[in-house]
Symmetry: D2
């Protein structure tokens, strides 16, 4: 039995827990105003090339709703693809702060300049909301990765229409370590107005870093974090973990491992003749299974159903993580071959 | 130098960290749907005597804003004393969910039936908000504790006017272990419609348990937690910690230690002729210092300024916690005596 | 030149203005608590067959946002077709009260049981909003009318899933007086949990009646009206107008005139070989024009562009109203014939 | 029997109704984009001396909530005296848009620089909301009037702390025509960042003009009006009325009449030995009555109870308006003398 149900089933990479253990009984500044958070901010800043305001919050929904409520005036809206996390899986968190999520057409879960342009052109008078932020996730909910060329074009259309470009990086490590990827954090810092760096799904107990590039968005951001309930009293826990992740490249090693495990699984599935909804280069796989294959899989792995198709087949989602045990992957694939 | 600045400077009690360490690499159910959260819920339930829905969230502001947005219709308001955490120290979190905080008169930071009644009687027509929840904190922001008699009277006025009674227990351990206290968790479960049990300030890395007694408030509560960004992906971390705290009384031991350290300090301050703003039986002390005393204190402790008085004296806040080192307390008091 | 741009270009039917004139200098109760509002409520109640709470507000967006914020808990959402007024033309008013508008598939601008069912089945866990109200407009934004059979089926699916059924009747008169229609206000009162009766677009200076059938939605509704800014100080102005409209059938006469003018125009357009986007039985027409026809129309009428098509043709919207002058319609059609 | 219960019991001054009658059957631009609204804006602009953006909405709560939601970021708050309309009588409308109303100490219902300063100094870190707008009403809820000197000082403290100064002018005419007053609209335009000019309580069927002086607040304001439900489809009705009110000074004549009637009543009350809660120079009077006087008054006027005092006396509120009939005032005073 291998766990492929999500990338947040386990706790933290042991180095992070050791770090917490080591500083556990010291007296720290509260609410992110501590030396470990300072250090983590400096380590992330080092990767960016341009000055940024960096904040740590506990979770991804918190990060998204805090950023968007800070960036949008009441009549302004955020553009997302239909499958965007903010559009479906945050229980209306964005609307609960008063803002509409405008759905744009995308390609395989990725937003396109055409999709943005079409939405903008449809919203021209005061009887409609005004698009103001473009939301992308990278890697996407479907495991896709934005290339530098794609980000450049998204940036161009955002500048044309005066939109902020915001990237939800809950799986940013997986994007950065994808074989498709040609971007660095420095590139993101150049093309985005703000983005997040996910810790929860890449080795931390919890935690997302919010990187605010555009000065206009930086103002008073801590007030917003506090108001939305995202300001952790023991903020040093987040600082300590991000410090370990960015001290010497651990963040990238962990994501690379997750991706490698997914690639190994993907090859095995294709070798076994199982088709994929789309080819992945990150840690999310969407094989399409016959009922018999599904039954077999239920005996060998935990996973989630993505979609019941019109034929009797089912698309399932398999997820690897920094914690995925390669020996279990190998055993799974051996069993699959022998099936 | 002794740290008396707050009760969340340190990490977790070692037993809690050990527990996290032990389960760190297991695959857990996500979002609080795991065996450790189940166990912790059962352990807390055991203390209550009546059936409750129990949820864990990361922080206190999160707990308050989620509960209140669940309990209130848009035109309904919550009653609090002026010093209530929701009224002052949550950056308008309650208003950000659309609700007014109505300030009632209290006595020494504690809400009274008279205070509630007066507010209710002032809000009689549809041009004003309608009071619907009564908020108390226990221990209060000023270190006060509600007795059983007091809660009984608050309950009575709430029933008279159809109000929910909600208790913010960020420092519930300190209240329960106060020498003034005559309540148990079972009593709270009887008198309240909902209350929280604070972990952050009593030995946990983070975490508050929300105890929902009244069935009408229980409905769909997880939707609200998710929407407000309070649903921790690795919810087992909260379950594991509350499990340790409530397995064998650790929660009470830790709070008792904090209170004892405060009582020792209080006696020393009084012996040194330093007056207190009010006598405390919990872990918060408010001595009133002359400029010379303040200068001395700055050299011997970290703490916070509470209020600059009209004379040249200053009220400061001293806070002890489960982590306060008794040898440091003794050294501090010796130095104070020798001053 | 004939004005076909909308159905709110003129003021009120003369009888309504006369009524206002007549009571102008009397002293009335404020905020809808006056004898004229009482009378208007009684006149509308007479048409319903079942007891209802009836409120008057100034405008349609106000009516929709007030009703929906009253009916929905924070995590609950409203289902609408994409073209629904609340989804597009209210500048995010519903989201500004904290709620998501879920788009369901419809047929020609009308919502179907299948569309509702699909949305409901997609929203099953606490990471997604929970559908709770179904919004239809009647007549629709595209001029369509719901039949009794259709409403019965919508009602059935709403009862199956515990949803409120709400009808935006900004153009309810046009629906009721459509040749397609087989419903009365009494039928609406049976199938709906709430609906509005539009005055603004049918002879009043302003005003919509909100009819609340289900008792659970009636509670405290005046508080919500006040909070959302919809409580008119001189509410007798709304009562006086609705009284005139419902005293002796004026409401229906006015809508019937608007529809008749549209039918006459529609026949003329079809006779002239101009295709329609869809056949109308109410007061909205959507002819598809060639560039030459568009140029001609610009010289003979005011109207609005609905959509630029992929070919070089344009869909325009023509609107008639209670105030449309039949002699101008005839002159327009004569000119069209002679073109 | 004389009606002294409020200043919105009657409809409109006959000239306004005649104007509406005259333009009733013309086809107008919708939503305030019509020639009458343009003209009214120009007429008001003429009084201001500096360029402003001027919008018309139906009611005062609408004006306040729309302005404040436009001016405030989510963590920002508005300062008001306790008796401010936004703090008490709008059913939490401001909080419903997400913002806290901070209560400052005032003198006799008027806000002072000291009151503002104290609130600002108490709100210094990110755990508290940030004051950003100062709200005053003029005339106040208690009938008081701000002098030029007072406004100058309020302005100074606002500039010192970077606050917007906003004046709710629901009774602006009464302030401007008070014998205490030394300000003109031009002065208000100089000292305020925004203010409203009330029509509802001074001769119009309904309508408040919102005057936005500071360019930063002007941006996208129509989007906000629409979202909050305040955009009247037949906006020409508001334009037509404000046009009449400001064409030749009618606005001032009407308010002057209301004030004169109040002064006459006030003198009569004082002559009859009835004390006042405070001396008034506008249209609101607050006599303090013995039970016997109260009984007498109930037989001679409609009015409202303001406050039951600790002795057995009652403070009542008497209100005059543009529609108050002087012969009725005289008859009332004669009866009072003969009592």
């Amino acid at each position: 039995m291998i766990s492929l149900v999500n990338d947040y089933s386990e706790g933290a990479h042991p180095r992070l827990l050791e770090k917490i253990q080591a500083l556990n009984l010291q007296a720290h500044g509260g609410y992110g105003l501590d030396t470990y958070s300072e250090e983590a901010r400096a380590l992330i800043q080092r990767e960016l090339g341009v000055p940024a305001a960096i904040h740590f919050v506990v979770g991804g929904t918190q990060a998204n709703l805090t950023f968007l409520s800070a960036a949008l005036r009441p009549h302004e809206a955020v553009i997302s693809v239909a499958s965007g996390h903010i559009n479906v899986h945050e229980t209306g968190a964005i609307e609960a702060t008063g803002h509409k999520v405008l759905v744009a057409e995308g390609v395989a879960g990725k937003l396109t300049p055409q999709g943005i342009r079409k939405v903008v052109l449809q919203h021209e008078d005061e009887h409609m909301v005004q698009p103001r932020v473009v939301y992308i996730s990278n890697a996407t909910e479907l495991g896709g990765v934005y290339t530098k060329e794609e980000l450049k074009h998204l940036r161009a259309v955002c500048e044309e229409y005066g939109l902020w470009l915001y990237m939800d990086g809950a799986r940013l490590g997986n994007a950065l370590c994808s074989e498709e990827n040609d971007c660095t954090l420095r590139d993101y810092a150049q093309y985005m107005d703000a983005f997040t760096i996910g810790g929860t799904k890449n080795g931390a107990l919890m935690g997302e870093a919010i990187v605010l590039l555009h000065p206009a968005i930086q103002k008073d951001f801590r007030f917003l974090i506090k108001q939305k309930g995202g300001m952790l009293a023991k903020g040093f826990l987040l600082g300590a973990q991000f410090g370990e992740l960015f001290r010497d490249g651990l963040y990238f090693q962990l994501a690379l491992h997750a991706n490698k495990m997914a690639m190994k699984l993907q090859k095995g599935l294709l070798d076994a003749g199982i088709p994929l909804w789309m080819y992945s280069t990150t840690n999310l796989l969407f094989p399409i299974l016959t009922p018999a294959q599904l039954t077999w899989l239920e005996q060998h792995a935990t996973f989630s159903i993505w979609e019941r198709r019109d034929d009797d087949r089912v698309t399932v989602r398999l997820v690897t993580s920094w914690a995925t045990d390669e020996t279990k992957v190998d055993a799974f694939l051996t069993a699959l071959q022998q099936r």
